[in-house]
Subunit: 145 residues, 2 copies
């Protein structure tokens, strides 16, 4: 239960992941987020406040010297990159018709689409859901169990 529910408390609403997605794309200002997402300002304000409270975003002075503030991802926020990629790739696989155009995530350096995320074992095998189990770590004294 605790493995997933805590993180969901921080980002488990519709708008927060979109805000985070936009932050990864370089948006920083309240008005930028609001314009790009088209959500109500009071909801955006509440969401940004929640993301700041959870340490996913910080508020910094505006980078252009103006008296405004900007919202930037923290390390914790940037840690959501794999999740956003997973969401994007799931969408690519299952939400578009084969011929339907949609944005792609590409490697800047060579302009090629990136690989699909794969879960791997410590020794490099690709793992599916049936290959894994959620379990409690052994007690410290049980290292030989």
């Amino acid at each position: 239960m605790c493995g997933v529910a805590r993180p969901l408390d921080a980002i488990g609403d519709w708008w927060s992941l979109l805000i985070i997605r936009d932050a990864f794309n370089g948006l920083r200002r309240f008005g930028e987020f609001q314009k790009n997402l088209g959500l109500a300002k009071n909801i955006l304000s509440a969401r940004l406040r929640n993301l700041v409270a959870h340490g996913i975003m910080d508020i910094e002075p505006a980078s252009d010297g103006s008296p405004y503030q900007e919202y930037v991802l923290t390390e914790k926020g940037r840690g959501l990159f794999p999740l956003l990629v997973a969401l994007r790739q799931w969408g690519e696989d299952f939400f578009f018709e084969p011929d339907e155009k949609h944005v792609l995530l590409v490697d800047r350096k060579v302009g090629m689409p990136v690989r699909k995320l794969e879960l791997r074992s410590q020794d490099g095998r690709v793992l599916g859901p049936e290959d894994t189990v959620v379990t409690w770590p052994p007690e410290t004294g049980d290292l030989e169990a």
Copy 2:
């Protein structure tokens, strides 16, 4: 915009990912989900209906021969495994104190924790957010552009 928002329409509420998490853990019956998650039955019913409508889950006759039905993940639903893993690993990294016990995702075969998800380029380099960009695929006739 379209890369992430469509999938979020299907699973971007607090309960759906928890339901899907439980489905990955083998729960199948309405009552099992309801008991394990403790959510209101009308909300569970609505969520399951939404997941079925989006093709993420199917309803099958109960596997024990009883006259009941079970909810099982479809291929599309199972495609959410990386996302759930990403969420879990983000939680492990940022939501627990260093000494705090929490469940782990382990490789059944050898009992070892799995690797962290990493995004990689086609040629195998590990990629961070700054190494990637979301872009539209070239037009079919622009293959040399």
